[in-house]
């Protein structure tokens, strides 16, 4: 991992079009500003991780429940 030391208001440029700014440092927290093209997806890691964990758990029991739901044939369903 590349580790860079930055001060408040310093920036990091990634791939020429993503600019990360250290907006504020205060009490062990850092506010980060991100300027990026609209087609770049940005998530807080812990939120994304929570969805990953939930999907893994749901995927594990899905196979079993699938059989129960589809037993009796596959038909149209109104959405």
């Amino acid at each position: 991992m590349l580790v860079l030391s930055r001060k408040e208001d310093d920036k990091i440029i990634i791939d020429e079009n993503i600019i990360i700014t250290v907006v504020e440092l205060h009490g062990g927290r850092v506010k980060v500003g991100i300027d990026a093209p609209a087609n770049i997806e940005i998530h807080r890691e812990e939120i994304y991780h929570k969805i990953e964990m939930e999907n893994r758990e749901a995927g594990n029991n899905g196979g079993m429940v699938k059989k129960l739901i589809l037993k009796g044939g596959e038909e149209d369903v109104e959405l």
Partner: protein, 152 residues
């Protein structure tokens, strides 16, 4: 197998029914193709089945069955990724999870599955700054669903 929505569009048998998730879904980024299977007499649930991995399937539901006033914004990024021209082209589902008893089933309203069925593209959209829960109870007081309606 068909999946019929309000405007009478059907996903039919054959290769065209495959929905491509270019990024997979979080936790399963290598699973890029899913089919959607349903059975009318088994309640409102729709199975989201991985094409590649037979044992990988998710139970999904139309989120408005659970929460009538469910709302979220389809961002420009999602519109672009899914080539969405009109909101009429999309279907929205949410992944359910069962822990132990069926009564305890929850649905992930914080990361809906959005499908452009015209282009056959799908994406699980991780909502930012949302109050919706990853584990929203399916059979709650405000839910239209009764557990007895879901004939497992």
């Amino acid at each position: 197998m068909k999946l019929k929505c309000k405007n009478n569009y059907s996903l039919r048998n054959g290769s065209e029914e495959v929905i491509t998730f270019f990024q997979g879904i979080p936790g399963f980024n290598d699973q890029k193709e899913f089919v959607f299977l349903c059975s009318k007499d088994k309640g409102p649930f729709i199975v989201m089945q991985s094409v590649e991995e037979e044992n990988l399937a998710f139970i999904t539901i139309n989120p408005w069955e659970v929460l009538g006033d469910y709302r979220f914004e389809i961002s420009d990024l999602v519109k672009e990724r899914l080539a969405i021209k009109s909101l009429e082209d999309i279907l929205v589902l949410a992944i359910c999870n069962i822990r132990g008893r069926l009564m305890n089933m929850t649905v992930n309203l914080a990361a809906p599955i959005v499908i452009n069925y015209k282009k056959r593209l799908g994406k699980q959209v991780v909502l930012e700054n949302t109050d919706y829960q990853v584990r929203h109870p399916v059979f709650s007081v405000q839910s239209k669903l009764g557990v007895q309606k879901c004939l497992f």
